[in-house]
Symmetry: C2
Subunit: 254 residues, 2 copies
DNA sequence: CGACGATTTGAAATCAGTCAAGAGCAGTGG
DNA sequence: CCACTGCTCTTGACTGATTTCAAATCGTCG
């Protein structure tokens, strides 16, 4: 799909360009970041709760997820990540990881030494702003997830997550919001929305029965986007797609 | 309580100093930030979802909270803030607010023009790092709250929140983790943990009956901290108290 | 005193969880 | 080729934690 010659770090440039207008020198500096590419299998850990990560990991392909294990043994998935996401920025900058990061599917990561990221942020204000913005958007998604698990019923939670994954995959250039590959099992889905796998299954069957989506293996087809978004109480503002426009434009007219 | 001569922005310097070792010039620049002090009543809004904030607000006294209103009309509280917290950084930097910020009690905020914050971050790397760190710690707390509402039962959620408020108030220099003022009503508590006020009340009664806490009006006395922390599945790592030590120290021995 | 908001308590209803078992599908090895 | 294995998905019946509805109590303040 992507040209064979595409640079390993190109997906990061693509993502950060959504947030800030990077100039040629910024892009060159980003692409010049030292890194090691590792191929990871589904289920492999990228970061461990309590650890001191030495690298920032850029997800070049595949899917990953953040999660924590509660004291009762239950797992809570905190976010899902895809190509172009710098998945270990939070843990790296905080120095001691407060959550786990694990691969959802097989994929490749580019491991960039933490110091190199720190240095490029110090040297290039626009890159620093874009990286900061990236962590802030992650934060906004965390807030939305608090609302999702805290105040929405089961059906709404599932529909909301389906919408978010659809839109983010589209934004990452991985396809169409109306037809996409679901990278998660229903058990993982349940850990993301704070429900049991059994109940997630019932809700998915329900969304299908109501003609909002159809499923085939792990492929999701959204039959009626507007209806699904409504069922999922889904509004896009929290994804802050418009970061660049918002930052570059003149202040809003009073 | 605080000396009459204390500078308005001193609480921010105090908080940021937890995260990074600021030099004298950093502190001077922070204290020189232009700002306007406003006295706010309980319930007053500091930021509106969908708005474009023009200021970063430092909470000088009192308590505030972030929240969102779901499509079904339910409110989800996202975090609680106290003296020294720069409560509007997320919304300011993202340019379009994705949540509301409202006062929980009466209090004073120092409103700093957004551009001044942007400029001090650009000019002073240590201040920028401390501010970034502040937003990252907020993010870590959001993640813990996802776990709290997603994977803990009612009693555990309440106990967890009681522990967090106790410890953060102590860290902010507002008192003792074992005896503190609860700034929230039970209805607000319920919106923070994703339960109903009725059930929150039952759980609080239960914690009291079990001898973990006692309550008197809005004052909480923790009778048995270890037991409360255990009941609340509470571990402090996610608060990243040790940010400064972690950042300044040599890398951990392999 | 009276009014209002916050807290407390009880009883009934319900959404989601639990337990259990069967069905579908992919990979493995005989 | 096909049985075997393991994982995921699906369905049913039952249970239970939390919600809902309703009303009483308490405290504060004008």
């Amino acid at each position: 799909m992507s040209p064979v010659t595409e640079h390993n770090l190109q997906p990061m440039v693509r993502k950060l360009s959504l947030w800030r207008a990077l100039d040629e020198a910024d892009v060159a500096a980003l692409l010049a970041l030292p890194h090691v590419v590792r191929s990871l299998n589904s289920g492999q850990f990228v970061a461990w709760d309590g650890d001191r990560p030495q690298h920032c990991c850029l997800l070049m392909s595949g899917f990953a997820f953040r999660h924590k294990i509660a004291g009762n043994g239950a797992r809570q998935i905190l976010s899902v990540h895809m190509r172009g996401d710098v998945i270990d920025l939070h843990n790296s900058l905080l120095r001691v990881a407060d959550h786990n990061i694990q691969m959802l599917t097989g994929g490749e990561v580019a491991m960039i030494p933490f110091e190199a990221v720190r240095d490029i942020a110090a040297a290039r204000p626009t890159v620093a702003a874009a990286l900061w913005y990236e962590t802030l958007v992650d934060g906004s998604i965390f807030r939305e997830w608090i609302v999702n698990v805290g105040r929405r019923d089961a059906r709404t939670r599932i529909a909301h997550l389906l919408c978010e994954l659809a839109l983010r995959q589209e934004m990452a250039g991985l396809g169409d919001r109306l037809v996409y590959q679901m990278p998660m099992t229903q058990e993982q889905l349940s850990d993301a929305v704070g429900l049991t796998p059994v109940h997630v299954n019932r809700m998915l069957m329900g969304l299908g029965a109501d003609g909002l989506i159809s499923r085939n293996h792990r492929s999701i087809t959204v039959i009626d986007w507007a209806a699904l978004a409504k069922a999922g109480d889904f509004e896009t503002r929290y994804l802050h797609f418009d970061g660049r426009a918002a930052a570059d434009s003149a202040p809003a007219p009073a």
